[in-house]
Subunit: 493 residues, 2 copies
């Protein structure tokens, strides 16, 4: 069963020839998976205790054969993953990895370069500068801003707010910290729709959850700029220190976009840092349908966009941009001179722009994906996702039992099932019953394995939330999803 | 030139068949690279401006052919990487990616699972629990501690010190932050040899660089426990708040290990959190030669070990362990109930243990690498690295012109060239000349591309620092390195 070539020596790695053989075995199995992916349940019911007992073995003493490890992975692990890279996965923000990105990860891992300093990886750092400029261009942000690839949008927001915190005070926070007599209490402003990453960042930075001021949103789930200005004025009068406003472009719940123009004017008036969380929305600036709504992101002092969400790049790949040149380095760079983070000749030590030191060569997968599809190809794929979302909205709008309670231009569709003879939201009991009905539909649909969706709770209750951004999803998949929704809804009503 | 099959459609990904074909093309090129790797320069001289102009193109509008992208990568990018995954790379801590880990990254990217919540990825979360227990076992830390895979040791230390900060105060730091009247100034203690990650974490957490108390080390570069206790007592008398001690097992400069037993006794006496940074040293507990020195890591309230450094796993893969159950979740979990982070049935939502939300399926590569070599195979490979280091030390000790000024059991060798007729360190000028000579040797050696080493500055000056942990490195490579060092030294003297 085990080939002689794979018998492990006491030292050394597989021979390169064996690597190639095992790699071909893996590729063939992945090809088979993706060719049949519509027959694979997106998720399936499972027993957590059985799953743990299936996987929870003692540390293996002896080397095992790759074919057996691969078979175990397909047999014991993959079936109880949720299949995020499946054309019928519409949960959360439906991230997806395109094949060029998958192969780039192979190459990146094989070279295993650490892009912490320019001199530890000159061309990896150079390529990171290049793709960061490409991403800035795509998002409509200045390409000469400081920028860095990081491991997720929550970390990007953490790093940006750290720099904002240090820039907000007269004393040297980096050196002296926040504790001590007479330090004004820091305040962060964001809408009641903003992502949990703002809360997590505020905890980590020593600012404190109670100092996140949640500004109410308007009827379209956009931050109310008038209330923002009131909150800042009130804090200033009370001697508190406004540190940053976090505006969102593409909220988690319904993909709303805060009004960046008015918010930016308020920030400028009070000299407060504006961080734009465009993790979901930002790269839809490539799409003809959405570009007009995204022209304002350049007003942000910092910006996060997330190629791992919407650019078909595998986890993780997030970019943080900051037009306040030197601000990230002023916080995170350890060498004493407060110079710019860009060396003469345009080189950059990326370890200076975040709390991280060692960091992989994330630029390669961006380079491969962007080159493989081209800007035109990326645009047409994002437009296609928008088209699919619109077709689903049209199906719901044309059906007497369904509605789309939140209009949106993004490929994030909020649906609600409300049959004529079903519960009506006129009373609290009716509202609760309608919510429960829609929650049952989500549970049934996800349990059946044919599609996977999430939910949101908006002002008037529970909605079924369908994210469409997987490169493999076709209009046939939308038809299948629509049919499955109706079948399950009929069953649940 | 371009095959019809790769002509991009306006929507969708490559067909799975095309993915397999391109994957085979990539595998063949990687096989070729590794079969000839000793002919590839580890690094080569380059002109930063030429490198940037070579790579800095406008965003491509049109899709490109994979074969051309791959060729460009080999031709325009790879030659000016530093080849971290090369048998003659001995710089920094010489991380390395074994082939099973490389293939695991392909599979991980293809599935693209987000392991933020148990329910978003049941078997990915289950497998993460399993490999975290394996890693705890290997390091000699309690396997029932809370644990999480994170993206680097600097982040692990940041996350641990965040939890330590919040545990140190009487008031609710997570809720109220550090600013405000009467909050005692927080203090972090670490040795003068500790890693920059402690400083970066302290900046990020709002503690402030000046509140990192650098405890002097002894003649063996180990933290002086007596001076630690004095520093804590002094701070307590002055009303400051000791938050944590960071002890290092395997310092960056010379792989020294702080005395964990005495340090832990002091921490217990004053109720101060002990974080053990065993990023480099921790997993050498597998090695028979080093295990006895590592028996104490379980005294840490938290521990970081780094499979990406010493377990042949590609970047990034770091594990954070915390025996204060619930402490990480008490800081980073956003749901209001302060329950344990482990659900009934032993499941876990890993997003609760750090500031991150979205996170990839890092457990798979650990599972594949550990199973592919087995515990015995990992042990023999670490022992082999120790043997190679000892053989290099023996060569230097037997040569009249070389010495090894820092004894160490780890595969990190500090060498110094000091020919009988060369500069002597008896005077400041002689010391400076000896340092300059050794610095020239490093520069020449790295410039020649035959090997890549780093340097350290220890008490009596500059030393050449050789890290041996690449799975591909053989005793022949050590002979080549030794010959190259001598040839270059002769040239520089």
């Amino acid at each position: 069963m085990a080939e002689p070539a794979t018998t492990p020596a006491a030292t050394g790695d597989w021979a390169p020839k064996v690597f190639e053989e095992h790699g071909r075995e893996l590729l063939a199995s992945l090809r088979g998976h993706f060719e049949q992916v519509r027959d694979v349940p997106v998720a399936r019911p499972y027993d957590p205790a059985e799953l743990m007992s299936r996987l929870d073995t003692a540390v293996p003493q002896q080397a095992d054969d790759f074919s057996r490890i691969l078979a175990d992975t397909w047999d014991k692990v993959v079936p109880d993953l949720v299949q995020w890279n499946h054309p019928a996965f519409h949960g959360y923000f439906s991230t997806c990895a395109s094949f060029p990105g998958v192969l780039a990860e192979t190459m990146t891992a094989a070279l295993n370069v650490n892009a912490m300093l320019w001199k530890t990886s000159p061309s990896a750092s150079a390529l990171e500068l290049v793709v960061l400029r490409w991403l800035a261009d795509m998002a409509g942000y200045p390409a000469d801003a400081d920028a860095v690839l990081v491991g997720g949008a929550s970390l990007a927001t953490l790093y940006a707010l750290g720099a904002a915190r240090d820039a907000a005070y007269d004393h040297d926070v980096r050196e002296e910290g926040l504790a001590g007599p007479g330090v004004p209490v820091p305040r962060i402003y964001t809408s009641d729709q903003a992502h949990s990453s703002v809360d997590k960042a505020t905890i980590t930075l020593g600012i404190g959850l109670r100092n996140v001021v949640r500004i109410p949103s308007d009827g379209d789930y956009r931050m109310r700029a008038d209330l923002l200005e009131e909150a800042i004025a009130e804090d200033l009068a009370a001697g508190r220190r406004p540190v940053a406003v976090v505006a969102t472009v593409g909220t988690t719940s319904v993909a709303a976009a805060d009004p960046l123009g008015p918010i930016s004017a308020i920030c400028r008036r009070h000299d407060v840092w504006l961080h734009v969380d465009a993790a979901y929305g930002g790269l839809f600036a490539l799409s003809d349908a959405l570009r007009p709504a995204l022209e304002d992101v350049s007003v942000g002092d910092s910006l996060v966009v997330n190629p791992q969400k919407t650019l078909f790049v595998p986890l993780d790949a997030t970019s943080l941009h900051c037009r306040r040149r030197g601000a990230l380095a002023n916080t995170y760079r350890l060498v004493p001179e407060y110079l710019t983070s860009t060396h003469p000749g345009g080189t950059a030590d990326f370890m200076d722009l975040s709390p991280q030191l060692g960091r992989g060569f994330r630029a390669l997968k961006l380079w491969w994906v962007i080159r493989s599809f081209g800007l035109d190809g990326l645009r047409s794929r994002l437009d296609h996702a928008v088209d699919l979302a619109n077709s689903l909205r049209a199906l719901a709008a044309a059906h007497p039992d369904w509605d789309c309670p939140v209009p949106s231009d993004y490929p994030l569709v909020c649906l609600r099932y409300q049959p004529a003879d079903g519960p009506r939201p006129d009373t609290p009991e009716g509202q609760a019953a309608r919510d429960a009905l829609n929650a049952r539909i989500v549970e049934e649909l996800n349990g059946a394995g044919e599609a996977f969706v999430s939910h949101s709770v908006i002002r008037d209750g529970y909605v079924i939330r369908v994210s469409l951004a997987n490169i493999h999803t076709t209009s046939d998949d939308i038809t299948r999803l629509w049919n499955a929704l109706n079948r399950v809804a009929e069953k649940c009503r």
